[in-house]
Amino acid sequence: MDPAAVHDAVTRLARADGGRVLAHLARQFGDLDQADEAVQDALVQALQSWPVQGVPDNAAGWLLVVARRKAFDRLRRSASARRRLGAAAADLLEAAEAAERRGFVREDPEQMEIPDERLRLILLCCHPALHQQAQVALTLRLVGGLTTAEIAAAQLSSEPTVTQRIVRAKRKIRDAGIPLSIPKALDERVAAVLAVLYLIFNEGYLSHGADTTLRVDLADEALRLARITATLVPDNPEVTGLLALMLFQRSRFASRTDASGRLVLLQDQDRTRWDGALVQQGNHALATAMAALRPGVYQVQAVIAALHANAGTAADTDWPMIAGAYQQLLAMTGSPVVQLNHAVAVSMCDGPRVGLALLEDVEGLEQYHLLHATRGELLARDGRTAAARDSFVAARALAPSDAERRHLDGRIAATTRTDDGGRR
């Protein structure tokens, strides 16, 4: 078999089933690191033996059986290494052999079904005792089955940095005794998982468009992980709410920038380029979530995204509904960024002056470029061009990306021309 085809098959296997096999082995051995190494060993063996033997029909079953054998090999090696040091550690080997006697390692790979323990794994990866960057890297690597090289490329980070982050996190999991368990306060811990998934999605959202042929798309990875999480925690409407939110945002990726890479604002986007299939999936997920009658921050954000996604034209947008949803979100979060968005929605109903008055109450966002950009837009709509230009200049100085700086340069130029009475 062609090595490139084998490589693709192994990559697909790692993404589709690596997390499930890893979670199962980690549970069985009570050791995340051993389980991870064993899965990696098995994937390496696949790369070596599949070109000759071909890809097995039940590749997931093959992965479990081979990874388990690798785990036992490792246990045996570490037991004999410890014996050589003179420590009494035959217990590890005994445990391995007892497990073998119970028939753990003699299953037929074609018959294997792998119990789904991924909820424990994803909760562990997103445990609040780990730094959030480590939570992101662990989730992508262990649950998502990405390689450290793929994570590094997707995050525009270096491979040693990502490797180090994962090694440290695994060490803390082991040394601090972070368990692979279903906690009593499940909703709280699921909230931490959702925060990580949305962070991954937004990393993908921000870096989207940069050389995607070589890179894993983090937004799509986050979507995939959100779909998995929704099947693992079907009774938590916030999970489905986040899935809906991601689907609506993902549906607009193609129209967010023009041919020259400039940002296109929502109101100016070519809506025929929105992905209708994703919008439909989003509508379905949102309806499912809201049927539970337990609102939460992701569901409300998804409602707002849905109102945009389902508006045929910018003029059809239901701004009073959106303003009401932001009001609800503000009550839930107290976030000044939500306050800012609420002011924009209100300005679309009641005019720029009402919006500008609401902006006066926003505190703590002086260093946030969108506060100034928004003020600029509202001032421009109110005909106060010179003041608008000053706000765009302030926004440009704080803008975090080239695309946003280019967009603001355009706004500064437009307001300058109007200000000069069209002399240029």
């Binding site: 420590a87 445990h127 005792a129 803390k172 040394d175 368990p179």
Partner: protein
């Protein structure tokens, strides 16, 4: 009188692994010191801890759990417990049950305790 001795060291100077040069001598010196404490009636509880990178802090005011040691200098160490728990989640639950709602509790796994 009873005293808690807080031992601060530079973690980058890691102690040797078992079997490395000087390991036996170092261990023997510590055992002798511990023995002296026990025989002199000084011993209550003592342990060496895992490095600061394994620490987890529970802020009782916000309920937030975060990675890393507690570094707020305006609050000082006021006491300690040495307790047994199945895993970090149980240890955090116990830390959250302490009748001290304004505290930030650093939970650090024990590496080794001579009397355990």
């Amino acid at each position: 009188m009873e005293y808690l001795l807080l031992i601060n060291v530079d973690e980058t100077h890691a102690p040797g692994e078992p079997g490395s040069d000087g390991f036996q001598e170092n261990m023997a010196a510590w055992m002798a010191f511990n023995q002296r404490l026990v025989e002199g009636g000084h011993w209550i509880a003592g342990a060496s801890l895992q490095p600061a990178s394994t620490a987890t802090v529970l802020d009782r005011r916000s309920g937030a759990v975060t990675d890393g040691p507690y570094a707020e200098t305006k609050e000082q160490l006021a006491g300690f417990y040495l307790l047994s728990a199945a895993d970090l989640d149980e240890a955090l639950e116990l830390a959250g049950a302490m009748p001290l709602p304004d505290a930030a509790v650093e939970v650090r796994p024990v590496l080794f305790r001579p009397d355990a």
